[in-house]
Subunit: 420 residues, 2 copies
């Protein structure tokens, strides 16, 4: 057996215990994991400092260094997140159907854990504890594979959580961290369908595409967010401006930030003000010809108005850049979204209910908004609790995936000798 | 664009219309498809006769020829199945959650079609109309790829259904049949993630494994059924015999038929009668040493008692063969199942409620039975309607997948200018 196969086997064995553990034990374990992370803050910070030192030597960009950094505040955040998950209702063991067939066979449909979840992620070390907490709450074992830049931090956090699990009477192998970060071990993990039930990649589209290419384990795609704002001819101008600026600039690096603005030609008079508000926040606008015509001579910072190419419609900038296109109808907006969207989140701004309803019915994305910013596609904001990712595929779960989406079900059939 | 890409694009365009079609239109179309199949029975049978002639020339086995054969009775069955699906409640547009956040944002979770479903199948031509009906009821377009041996039959059935769809005011491209059955076109279909939302392979494990290997589209694995019967020490002997014989012999070729019998050593006295009942039905028994010892000199047909090898535990025979193993506890039975099962259906026969509950809680299969035959894992038998397949994976749906499992959901968020 290879080390990765051994991890798989250990996870599967731990899952046999965890899947029938009672809610109280899991709650207690999560609370102890939260406490342990605070209690061992010094070790975690020491490990993180080593990661940071190495990152600096390797010339990591400032923004990436900040994502890697763990402070007492951030560690408290990780601990609090575990406490929140501990308080979340246990999603396992819910009887969602219970009926008896004419032949007397009683059928119950009962929620159960998925089993073993593999998570491949990059960047921030808090993902380690967030994912572990969500998985354990739903009765799942997790095999985490973080990025090498956070290797020591992730190990420190994992060690603390494993010790807490053990103290709480659960197998420490409920949470494991891959130690061999080679390309080969990642491939092996993706082929471990005997032991892993679901694989969730979290990170760049490059990572997600690699997992889709190689994985033999069922995958949930997450996070690709080429989100659109469509300003209809019947939009309220102030609302249109506020929503666009918020969706683009409040946190440009996240997946629910808007990347393209579509605006109805009859709302063209709103465009110069919106462009000024965006460029004032440092946003470069990549505009189609029609939009450039409208903006010509009407904006305070013409240098920020660039020409859009076809590539722009399909790009998730995750940056202070926004593509802008003028459309002649809501249908053209819907068609554009259909063609280019990653089906994450799209919003229409309009006072016209009929137009809004068409948009919401016909746009095929996990979240469709009428008169609100796309930034609300987030487990916490939607009241779904913490999230393990935002699914952009249609199988299993769509949009924010929290604890309640980390279960499956089985049918339990009880008879008195029924045969067919 | 290749022919396969063109099919994908046509399906996607048809899906835009179908996904917002009202329930009545879909019901009407399904009824017209059912009527058309009856009305055009002669053409369908003529096409089928050509397939049969070619199959005979190619030396197809008698059992396979029978699967391929369409008779007026079987065509009536196909038509009736479409009528049943027409009468099934529309699963689209159900609001499963509706709540308002503190900031006034109203969130609804609404069921929607999956979109475009690809189905790769072998053998029987009735799969063509069954799958088309299930997909259309749930608002999905379908791209079917049947086996070459049923090519003319599948085309005849598809043509009739497409004409009926068109007459009912829906795009005929809601149902398409792949014409190029080369290895390459199958691969292309599996990589068509721009147009196909879900791929469902139906057929041999070789087919399913190929799809898992190659597909870039999310896959639902179906049908692998290495099912177990466990006879506990506290089993009722008659019930144990009846259930085992039924699960093995009532239809050995289907996925919910049992393949392995596990029996508690304290129930060993039941084994000779069970062996006799099975061999009388023509079942060959592949037994471990302990079982052979028990049966030695106590069965009427000793020639049917063979030695089991490790391979037998992992084999789905789909035939009149059953592996037999003696275990010393319910734990050993659960461990055996955990190791060898395809997680389809497993049954325990016991009068001991505590043992039964442990078995049902700990066995990680889509359907677990207490005192009933595994043969009930079937959409119709479980009251779930017709099925497109029986999922053996944990994502999305487990067990029989009917109309209600062919939908996903989206979040519809309505605000009055909320920003974050």
């Amino acid at each position: 057996m290879t080390p990765i196969e051994e991890m798989g086997l250990r996870a599967k064995n731990a899952a046999k215990i965890l899947r029938t553990s009672d809610p109280e034990t899991k709650t207690k374990a999560l609370g102890m994991m939260a406490d342990a992370i605070l209690a061992h803050q010094d070790e975690i910070i020491a490990a993180n400092e080593e990661d940071l030192r190495e990152a600096e030597i390797n010339g990591m960009a400032r923004a990436m260094m900040d994502r890697l950094l763990l402070t007492p505040d951030r560690i408290k955040g990780m601990s609090d997140a575990l406490k929140d998950v501990a308080a979340w209702p246990d999603p396992v063991g819910k009887v969602t159907e219970d009926y008896t067939r004419p032949n007397g066979l009683r059928i119950r449909k009962v929620s159960i854990p998925l089993g073993v979840i593999g998570i491949i992620f990059e960047s921030r070390p808090n993902v380690t504890s967030d994912c572990a907490g969500l998985c354990v709450r739903a009765g799942n074992c997790v095999i985490l594979r973080g990025g090498h830049e956070a290797f020591r931090s992730n190990n420190a956090v994992t060690d603390v959580m494993r010790a807490a699990l053990s103290e709480a009477g659960l197998p420490e192998d409920c949470v494991q961290l891959v130690q061999d970060l080679s390309h080969e071990s990642a491939h092996e993990l993706m082929c471990l369908s005997d032991y892993i039930d679901v694989l969730i990649p979290r990170g760049s589209s490059r990572l997600i595409n690699r997992v889709l290419d190689e994985s033999k384990v069922p995958v949930i795609q997450t996070g690709a967010g080429n989100c659109h704002i469509y300003i209809d001819k019947d939009a309220d101008p102030k609302m249109a401006l506020d929503i666009t600026v918020n969706a683009k600039t409040s946190r440009p690096s996240v997946c629910n930030a808007a990347e393209t603005l579509l605006i109805h030609e009859d709302a063209a008079n709103m465009l110069p003000d919106i462009a000024d508000a965006l460029t004032a926040k440092g946003v470069e606008l990549r505009c189609d010809e029609h939009a450039r015509d409208i903006l010509a001579g009407k904006v305070s910072d013409p240098d920020m108005i660039k020409e859009a190419s076809e590539t722009d419609w399909g790009t998730e900038y995750d940056d202070l850049i926004m593509a802008v296109r003028v459309v002649s109808s809501v249908d053209e907006a819907i068609d554009h979204i259909d063609k280019w969207s990653t089906h994450h989140s799209e919003a229409i701004v309009t006072e016209n209910e009929e137009t809004a309803q068409r948009f919401m019915a016909e746009v095929d994305s996990s979240a469709v908004y009428w008169n609100a910013s796309t930034r609300f596609t987030d487990g916490g904001e939607m009241g779904l609790g913490a999230e393990i990712g935002i699914s952009t595929q249609k199988l299993h779960a769509r949009g924010p995936m929290g604890v309640d989406q980390l279960v499956t079900y089985k049918f339990m059939l009880t008879g008195d000798g029924q045969i067919r």
